[in-house]
Amino acid sequence: MSVVFTSLWQDGSQEQRNKLRFLLTASVLLLCLYVIWGDQIFIDNEWHESCSGRKMPVHNPATGDLLCEVEEADTEDVDKAVRSARTAFQLGSPWRCMDASDRGLLLNRLADLVERDRLRLATLEALDSGKIFLMAYFVDLMATVKTLRYYGGWADKVQGKTIPVDGEYFTYTRHEPIGVCGQIIPWNFPVMMFAWKIAPALCCGNTVIIKPAEQTPLTALHMACLIKEAGFPPGVVNVLPGYGPTAGNAIAHHMDIDKIAFTGSTAVGKLVQKAAGDSNLKRVTLELGGKNPNIVFADCDLEYAVEQAHSGLFFNQGQCCLAGSRVFVEDSIYEEFVCRSAEKARNKVLGNPLVPGVDQGPQIDQKQFDKILELIESGKREGATLECGGGPWDRNSLFIQPTVFSNVTDDMRIAKEEIFGPVQQIMRFHSVNEVIQRANATHYGLAAGVFTNDIDKALTVSSALQAGMVWVNCYNAMSTQCPFGGFKMSGNGRELGEYALQEYTEVKAVTIKISQKNS
């Protein structure tokens, strides 16, 4: 994805560069003028103050400035939202009686509105999360629009079956929505995660209570405005900015929420699963952490593999559950690979995410910043070779130098724990069987990459890796049509693609006694 952007900026025609410049200028203008559309809790298509009266601060991680204060949802607000979502889901409600194709039309209208407000949303996203503006504009917003359109198309294609059961019966299945769905999303791709969550849920006819991350609530609240404008009935989508231990916890434990979908850390994923067990056995889907192997064989296109491995890790300041954070390189090309990777990392331009040419912004907050630095220190201590970077970029901000470690061994913390920052680990391997075994020796199983021109190696490794996504000769190649999710402790269930629909559907088998069956 970042390749697209980089090549647009670096190799693009003058016209393309001018277009990018124009966008940036426009966004800065907007910055001066922009009004945050939503800073309250969105329930029943109305804006509410928090029941507790509390507000939470929202910061720009690039500068540390306070952007605004947002109403902070807690248990009582969750209760209120659940009541609204339950009412919207009642048998006979406008939402339940609506033609499936009209649900699809609403999602398409929402996509149109997101496209209309793309610049504003991308600006807001860059301000709130510190991600590179052009990435937000070209990657995050594009994916958001495509996801909404894609599920708009599914709405009237979620088909049950008629089933040839034994005996004098006629049996069919209805694919019904599950009901009220709680959704909790992280801060690394705020608006895209919002779309990934609401689109399949709404497509199947559910109602939603979504909690955006406390660090990045602004685009979600803007989306709430657009949801109302598109014409979704009240109560169908409720957006509650708040903290995990309060609002998130209330959603996970709620007795009247039928399903919960969570994206975030594996540690919190466990809490969510437990909360479902402790309360009403709500259905649970989880998208959690990863420590993803990216395996580079000697027969690959080296320059391309270096580039892909680099963007596979450093994309979005390394804040991706998909980050290829264990790069296994075959020994005959190891030195060359490390050398080129370090050079790439050294050439990264850090700075204000709104400025063109900058390709790494700040980490999201102090907590993440400290954790990443602590892991970097552990790498040094445990004997990995620091090739470049290795510390903060600037004393008073949340930027971290692009960091590359070589001679990393499997037992080091930086090889086992999810760092979620711009820190690349490069390991050496000798044989196919060895690397498969080492790549799988983790409790995570989200994604993996393989670089080779040998079809046998590609197919052998891709079938042996325990991961929900395997990329061959590419990395981070995601699209809305393609399912996404993890093996093992990386999660439960799949998002995107047709597979996501079953996570938002209850199957009802209806069997009718008939007088005489015929084939």
């Binding site: 009209d102 039309l105 009237d156 088909q159 046998d456 009718i512 008939i514 015929n518």
Partner: protein, 515 residues
């Protein structure tokens, strides 16, 4: 709720069933819409240099001359379609989601021009404007939106075959598709054909009916406007024996889809056999039974049966043209049906009160009058109508025959006009047998409150579509097509995509297979 919110509301499909329109919501039509497009492609005259007149069936007057495509034009169009389908072409390399987006944009453009398209459709075809506006065009929009959604969801499979292999299927487009459509729902048939063909990535050479070419040519301009690459859709007005025949027997057309009479369906299948064995799908005639059990809701059954036959001037392949009524309610049903037919408003299709316009042309008009004479001659009881309804144009009175016997011509042949046959039956088993005693198998309906009877008939009737306590309910999501002589293949729904797809099995040797 939604309907208030969305400014460009689509009426529910079931809304067509009672022929009740809220005139307030429909803009006043122009009865003389300007014709912008009458050339073979958007701006080109036919290679043949010939043209033919298209007639307003309400008056019998010529609307305009339309360029007439011939064999040479078909060759040219096939070349363009083949070029657009070339491996590596923009159309072949396009993301499936972008094909979907183009179809969505086409739907948006048609929705924008609803009023104009509805006027043109009514002018050229004679169907009431209120129907064109609130049934035909909205269904076109829905069909295209539906197919648009499929574009990036038409998934192949990976298959666990035996041995050390990796096996997957690719769903590839067939290639250049010839499509020949009818005049009874010109716009809608065009959408039914284009939607699945384009969603799956084919290119199209379409011949539209010579009676009703105008809306299709306008849609061609919209196809260009929304940005389909050149050659992907080619629309040719022309005659069946020349242009149609050239498509059916063309050696470089990979598939032909035809909607029309069973008689011509035979010719298409033959042409495929004697040329390049192109894939053939056919949507042909019907003589669909509509069975009214004595326990049915009488008012509802009368209204729906009336609608089942008289909708669109009776010019529907799925028309319920054999109404079987159980003996105990036969008399009352007959009386009420006659009363309903007599109240049917026949006249100027641009008037909002009109329920029935003219038949499409003189040939159909004469053919229908011929069937009415045969009905009288063979001893059916004429209950109402039976003649011409106006001094000019091709209007026919809503006609009902009672005491119709299964052997009569009007009970066996497709009339394609406003002529209803009512037959009497006693038992369930008897009516299913009689309903199936036809070479056709397109549609059927049953009206009953009894769940067992409903299931017995719906599984016993040999037909591609069965409606229970309703009729003519179409959704873009549900497949449509015929058993027996009524056709081959299915349109719409997920099933419709199969007919535009070649499945390719790719098998790769792997060193070691694991589950």
């Amino acid at each position: 709720m939604l309907r208030h919110v969305l400014s460009r509301t689509l009426p529910r499909i079931s809304g067509i069933s009672n022929c009740q329109y809220s005139a307030a919501a429909i803009p006043v039509p122009s009865a003389q819409p300007e014709v912008h497009y009458n050339k073979v492609t958007v701006h080109q005259d036919a290679v043949s240099k010939r043209s033919f007149p298209t007639i307003n069936p309400a008056t019998g007057e010529v609307i305009c001359q339309v360029a007439e495509a011939d064999k040479a034009d078909v060759n040219k169009a096939v070349k363009a379609a083949r070029e657009a389908f070339r491996f590596g072409s923009p159309w072949r390399r396009m993301d499936a989601s972008d094909r979907g987006l183009l179809l969505t944009r086409l739907a948006d453009a048609i929705e924008r021009d609803t009023a104009y398209l509805a006027e043109l459709e009514t002018l050229d075809n004679g169907k009431p404007y209120a129907v064109s506006y609130s049934v035909d065009v909205p269904m076109v929009v829905k069909c295209l939106r539906y197919c648009a959604g499929w574009a990036d969801k038409w998934e192949g499979k990976t298959i666990p075959i035996d041995g050390d292999f990796f096996c997957y299927t690719r769903h590839e487009p067939i290639g250049v598709c010839g499509q020949i459509i009818l005049w009874n729902f010109p716009l809608l048939m065009q959408a039914w054909k284009l939607g699945p063909a384009l969603a799956t990535g084919n290119t199209v050479v379409m011949k539209v009916a010579e009676q009703t070419p105008l809306t299709a040519l306008y849609v061609a301009s919209l196809i260009k406007e929304v940005g389909f690459p050149p050659g992907v859709v080619n629309i040719l007005p022309g005659m069946g024996p020349s242009a149609g025949s050239a498509i059916a027997s063309h050696m470089d057309v990979d598939k032909v889809a035809f909607t029309g009479s069973t008689e011509v369906g035979h010719l298409i299948q033959q042409a495929s056999g004697s040329s390049n064995l192109k894939k053939v799908t056919l949507e042909l005639g019907g003589k669909s039974p509509n069975i009214i059990m004595s326990d049915a809701n009488m008012a509802e059954a009368v209204e729906q049966s009336h609608f089942a036959l008289f909708f669109n001037q009776g010019q529907c392949c799925c028309a319920g043209s054999r109404t079987y009524v159980q003996d105990t309610i036969y008399d009352e049903f007959m009386e009420r049906s006659v009363e309903r037919a007599k109240s049917r408003v026949v006249g100027d299709p641009f008037s909002m009160k009109t329920e029935q316009g003219p038949q499409v042309d003189e040939e159909q008009f004469k053919k229908i009058l011929g069937y009415i004479s045969s009905g009288k001659r063979e001893g059916a009881k004429l209950m109402c109508g039976g003649g011409v309804a106006a001094d000019r144009g091709y209007f026919i009175q809503p006609t009902i025959f009672g005491d119709v016997q299964d052997g009569m011509t009007i009970a066996r042949e497709e009339i394609f006009g406003p002529v209803m046959q009512i037959l009497k039956f006693k038992t369930l088993e008897e009516v299913v047998e009689r309903a199936n005693d036809t070479k056709y198998g397109l549609a059927a309906a049953v009206f009953t409150k009894d769940i067992d009877k409903a299931h017995y008939i719906s599984s016993g009737r040999r037909a591609g579509t069965v409606w229970i306590n309703c009729y003519n309910v179409f959704g873009a999501q549900a497949p449509f097509g015929g058993y027996k002589y009524s056709g081959n293949g299915r349109e719409l729904g997920e099933y419709g995509l199969d007919n535009y797809t070649e499945v390719k099995t790719v098998t790769i040797k792997v060193p070691q297979k694991n589950s």
